[in-house]
Amino acid sequence: MTDLATTPRPRRSSGLLAFLIRRSPLAVLLVGVFLVAAIFGPWLAPHSMTDTNLTVALQPPSATYWLGTDPLGRDVLSRLLGSAQVAAQAFLIVVLIGGIFGTALGLVAGGLGGILDLVVSRLVEVLQGFPTILVAIVIVALFDPSLTNAMIAVGLAAIPDFARVSRSVAIQLRDREFIQAARGLGAGELRILWSEVLPNMVGPLIVIASFDGAQAVLWEASLSFLGMGVQSPAPSFGSMLREAQGYLAIQPSFAIIVGIAVSGVILGLNLLGDAISDYLDRGGK
């Protein structure tokens, strides 16, 4: 991943989407569906996401309830659309926390070097040492269980990834000619980091963001599965799986449908990350 970073400013080719469709049509399809669900879910949902109706509990897929109903008679499709929105929020929170703090740390450490680099690097290693699940439990125990709190824990765990990548890119760039040129023109170090180094690490950061974001979706599901994420009655992939699991032998379609949805989203995000990585490796051709 580091070699691509040395290619200054990969062309923002308009061929990215075309490349992705060619390289991994499945990824584009899955992520496309996920994005549509996340953005337009509330308008697309055929029923309420939270209204219970015990007269139609645990129904198999039908014309009225396309993906069936859960044990409280809530529409599974509508709740999956809501879950997609929650997952997208998880993605954004984690990538924002990891991206902003991680990149800032890595940039400063790699770009300025010296004692600062040493301190930041050790700090990042310490952060990396925390098991996410434990941090999540502590944060949720101290505050209330909620999506934001759970994702702060996951976001903290994403900081090292961004920090390490941005640091290594910054180290490679800091003595390059165009940086020296900027320095020669009188630009301050921080300004150089901001306007010369940072733009050149966007590619690798996007790749990291797509993988960490996919992990965030999975962590959101895991923590909600354990009751530490989104609270009822708001839907979430994790809490739906948890509900479905108790009815595996009674209404298998419920668990299967939710399982496919979660797997599809994670698969799509990971494939997309791979494809973007390939695209950048090829210099955007």
Partner: protein
Amino acid sequence: MNGREGWGRMNRAEFLRLLGGAAAAAAVAGPFGMAGSALAQAGGDLVVGISSDISTLDPQMSPIDVFRHTIRSTVFEALVFINPDTLQADPLLADSWEISADGLTVTFKLKSGVTWHNGSPFTAADVVYSIKRVQDTATGSPFAPQLVAVSGVEATDDQTVVLTLANTVPGILANLAVIQIVNEASIGSIATAPVGTGPFKFVNWAPGDHIRVEAYAEHRNAPKVGAIEWRIVPDSQARLAGLQDGTLHMVALVEGKDVVQAQAAGIGIIQTKPYILYENFNINTKRAPFDDKRVRQALAHAFDREGYAKTIWFGFARPTINPVPPEMATYLPDSASQYPFDLDKASALLAEAGFTKDNPLTMEILTIQGFDTLKSMALLLQDTLNRIGHKVTVRELEVTVWIDRILTKPDYDITTDNFNTGPEDAASMFNSPNLAPASNVNQWNPPGYADLVAAAASESDEAKRIALYQQLQTLILDEMPQITINHLPLFFLGNEASSALVIGPSGIDDYTKIAL
């Protein structure tokens, strides 16, 4: 998030694992991961799956259900055992008893030759100590209400205990059946290393994992199994899987969906009478606005008991608003169907109490982890109330935290709960931790209630007694200190051998007849 490679990239194996139905979540939950390693030796050990852990091993301190199926039913004994077939008291630590003509003195002759698990002899002094300990307000025992009428207890010799009652209590033996006799010498360690007289002696408790007891060979009714190990398996699907692959012999206390799935899988079902347990909402009636009975009545109208029984319990539950089951002679006729599900009525009552869409009722419903039906109950009430414009949240708590919020502090609005109906005797129901005038979970004790309970308990004329209990039911149905939802049987799942378990109506079971 493993630290090795950063967690950005998954390798193919990891990815495949994730595909397996979000197995990551299951792996984190790890409900059954270690069953194999700690697996008991076949032939001697009965392995039972339970849904949640307990907070103390002191049998006088917790009425929580998971308790009855573990320590209380095996390590300790009470004076008597209520026989589920006859509903009469059978001797346990007491060999025989005599109730005086005026009904105010009960003399127990104790079994001789009984020893504590530490080898010291069991005597009348232990009984006196145990009863006084439960009565002592400093102990804070939830069983204290069972003994409110007991004004004196003394040992006249090593084998004789005389109990003096302030008033006649027809159900006194049933009340005593839940008071377990503890050992004064080892009382300091009772919460973690209990010493009892029961057929099993305590071995160890690994919080969150298992509780283990071993057969006490010197017991007069020596058990047929060598040991019992209760595994804490919070996940119901994992418990079913455990029964199927043989890592569990029995699963205590399961829900309707597990019974349906067990039936389909050919797993044996052990079931008690249909009214041994009830599910309910406890209400903190001391806290505004729940001190207003109109709010409590509104909540009762806002829950669809019929729909809940049919769908969440698959018809195994019998909806009712009255904790007293129709099977009891004291039952108030036609009361079970009062407070039908009626959101207009609920809205109207809440509006009377000042809560409308513009000034919504804000409340938090607590529920205990590991009890899926109770969580469904909470979600249903939340949804119906939110739909008529109120602001209800649901909070799922780990059982020890829940006990702290409900019983110790108490600091809650409303909680889901389930409760033993108790022996078929209305006296013990109105002296249960849910309804006892002296102290109850609902913090409810209106003027005159205590006198009425005492009068009903001591009335020996059957017709008058029934009239008094019906008056009490009319009172609680109007005041609605707790919202009763249904009556239920207790369900156990297990193999052929475990069907020898004797499930006692008083909340104590007999494990000695089970042979593997």
